[in-house]
């Protein structure tokens, strides 16, 4: 079965076709980063206006590029939440009505379930059960995944998400958006011994995160030092280390608590190279297996939605004609 996947929850228009017979996926992405750059953040109305212009041409190109006719598509999946309501509605309206016209089943997908399942598209996918660390622009969550749809929230951020922290720190250091890649790059020039930043909420037990204090710490450090290139790089290094180390400490705890031997990391921040280095160390040390998506499937994309949609459709689920979107949607409510 081939499933067309559509992602429009925020500032990327993503489309993909997942082919279950080959376990292969092909995708196209249009990023709105430049559109929003001059406003310092995503402008929801502009995002929706751009999605409705770009989505259908992308779908057309995807079919043409792969020499596929509509008859060869067995179902359509689109992100139904969480995300920006207007942006979600564009993908859902086009996806649901196209499925009606093609007379194939449709399914609204949870964006974070999409992220969570993205590693399944790799040649050596994880097997259930596992612990998942979802680290993206809007979420930082540790989840126990027993099987598809059986998600227990172990911990999450009580304020900023990890990706959001990268973005905010980048902004206050005068780096561009998105902040994650910019910080990472600059951190390579940083002196590891100059600053040590706190690891928030690691002294207390529990699996929740907090990143807003770390951001304030960065701001104060930046304000009280000579603002030269080296200092900027040194701060980037210390911030990245502190953020990643905090994530590692909690992953370690979650694995211990659940006794599980498999860890999955997904979402935009999982593209981070240093994070992956630390994970490899952790895996060796704890004798656990670690899985993550290929870098292009860490951030938003249509492939993860196509795959998650396929899994749900295969299980016999589908959305009726009265489609709806869920701007806020707790993943542990899925079944």
């Amino acid at each position: 079965m081939r499933v067309l996947g559509i992602e429009t929850s925020c500032d990327e228009t993503g489309v993909a076709i997942y082919d279950s017979a080959q376990n292969s996926v092909t995708h196209l992405l249009h990023s709105q980063i430049e559109l929003h750059a001059k406003y310092g953040g995503v402008v929801p109305e502009l995002a929706s206006r751009d999605h409705i212009q770009k989505l259908l041409p992308l779908i057309k190109n995807l079919l043409v590029d792969n020499g596929l006719t509509p008859r060869e598509i067995g179902g359509i999946a689109y992100t139904a939440g969480p995300g920006l309501v207007g942006a979600l509605l564009v993908g859902s309206a086009i996806g649901r009505s196209l499925a009606w016209a093609w007379q194939v089943p449709a399914i609204g997908v949870h964006h974070m379930e999409g992220h969570l399942l993205a590693p399944m598209l790799e040649p050596f996918p994880p097997s259930f059960p596992f612990v998942a660390l979802l680290v993206s622009g809007g979420h930082t969550q540790l989840v126990q995944v027993d099987t598809i749809g059986k998600y227990t929230m172990l911990g999450e951020s009580i304020d900023d998400a990890a990706g959001e922290a990268f973005d905010k720190v980048a902004k206050l250091l005068g780096l561009g958006y998105p902040g994650g890649p910019a910080i990472s790059k600059l951190a390579q020039q940083g002196n590891p011994d100059r600053f040590i930043f706190p690891r928030p909420m690691t002294q207390r037990p529990g699996l929740d995160f907090s990143f807003s204090g770390l951001k304030t710490y960065v701001l104060n450090t930046w304000k009280t030092h000579v603002q030269d290139e080296q200092t900027r790089a040194d701060i980037a290094y210390a911030f990245e280390e502190a953020a990643i180390d905090t994530l590692m400490i909690k992953c370690r705890r979650a694995l211990k608590q659940t006794q599980l031997k498999c860890l999955v990391i997904a979402g935009g921040v999982s593209a981070n190279q240093r994070l992956r280095q630390h994970l490899t160390q952790l895996a060796n040390e704890l004798h656990v297996e670690v899985y993550y998506p290929r870098p292009e499937f860490c951030t938003d994309n249509g492939a993860m939605i196509a795959y998650a949609g396929y899994v749900r459709l295969k299980a016999g689920q589908s959305e009726a004609l009265n489609f709806s979107v869920h701007p806020r949607w707790n993943m542990s409510l899925l079944s």
Binding site: L56, R96, A101, F323
Partner: protein, 222 residues
């Protein structure tokens, strides 16, 4: 000729079907429920007419002006349907639909259609009846302060739409007193005659080129 028409530019969700001379339609006043309602409505209309989607020749939609989200729901739905069926789209102004409704229901030949645009503004368009009983735009549609609304020429005008409700006093002072119908919405049934005419004249677009006409384009608050 078989055409489907839909409009979700205001609080009302409506769709209409034209099947070789016979028209049928449905609508519901349901703010923020257009996504849930529109496809079941379309499906019902087709089922009642025993028409399969593939028998449609074109799909018309209310391109705006109106609620941004509503415009994109209609636009997304028609893009999906039209692309899926490989049919063209017929974009129709929601103000034109309102004006056509005014003619159908009240036989007014000169109509100032106004939709509340929030932020102390109104979507405004003046229409006059042509010899084929179709409303034609006079000058241009715009989003403006009600104080800036203007009639294109002197005639016996009448007003229709939610803009006349919100800004009744200001509009009456600006353009003069006239008969008005405030609680009227662009209904797909009234869009049909305009859509049929446009389709026959080849005023159609490919699915990916059917986009909303927002009129308001400064949407970033800084």
């Amino acid at each position: 000729m078989n055409l489907l028409a839909l409009d979700t530019s205001t609080e009302v969700c409506s769709c209409a079907l034209y099947v070789s001379g016979e028209a049928s339609s449905q609508h519901e006043i349901a703010p923020r429920q257009h996504a849930e309602l529109i496809l079941p409505m379309i499906n019902n209309l087709l089922a009642e007419a025993s028409l399969s989607p593939k028998q449609l020749d074109g799909i018309a939609f209310g391109k705006g002006p109106g609620s941004f989200t509503g415009l994109r729901i209609a636009c997304g739905v028609v893009q999906g349907i039209a692309f899926g069926l490989d049919r063209p789209i017929i974009p129709i102004s929601s103000l034109a639909t309102l004006a056509q409704l005014a003619y159908i229901e009240f036989e007014w030949p000169h109509v100032a259609a106004a939709i509340d645009a929030r932020m102390q503004e109104v979507y405004w368009g003046c229409y006059a009846l042509d010899e084929n009983h179709l409303m034609q735009l006079q000058e241009r549609e715009q989003v403006c302060k009600p104080q800036a609304a203007m009639l294109p020429f002197s005639a016996t005008w009448a007003g229709i739409g939610s803009g006349w409700q919100t800004y009744h006093e200001i509009l009456s002072t600006t353009v003069g007193n006239m008969p008005i119908q405030q609680e009227k919405y662009p209904l797909a049934s009234a869009m049909l005659p305009l859509a049929i005419d446009a389709f026959e004249k080849g005023q159609i677009v490919a699915p990916e080129n059917a986009l909303p006409t927002y009129l308001r384009n400064n949407v970033v608050q800084v």
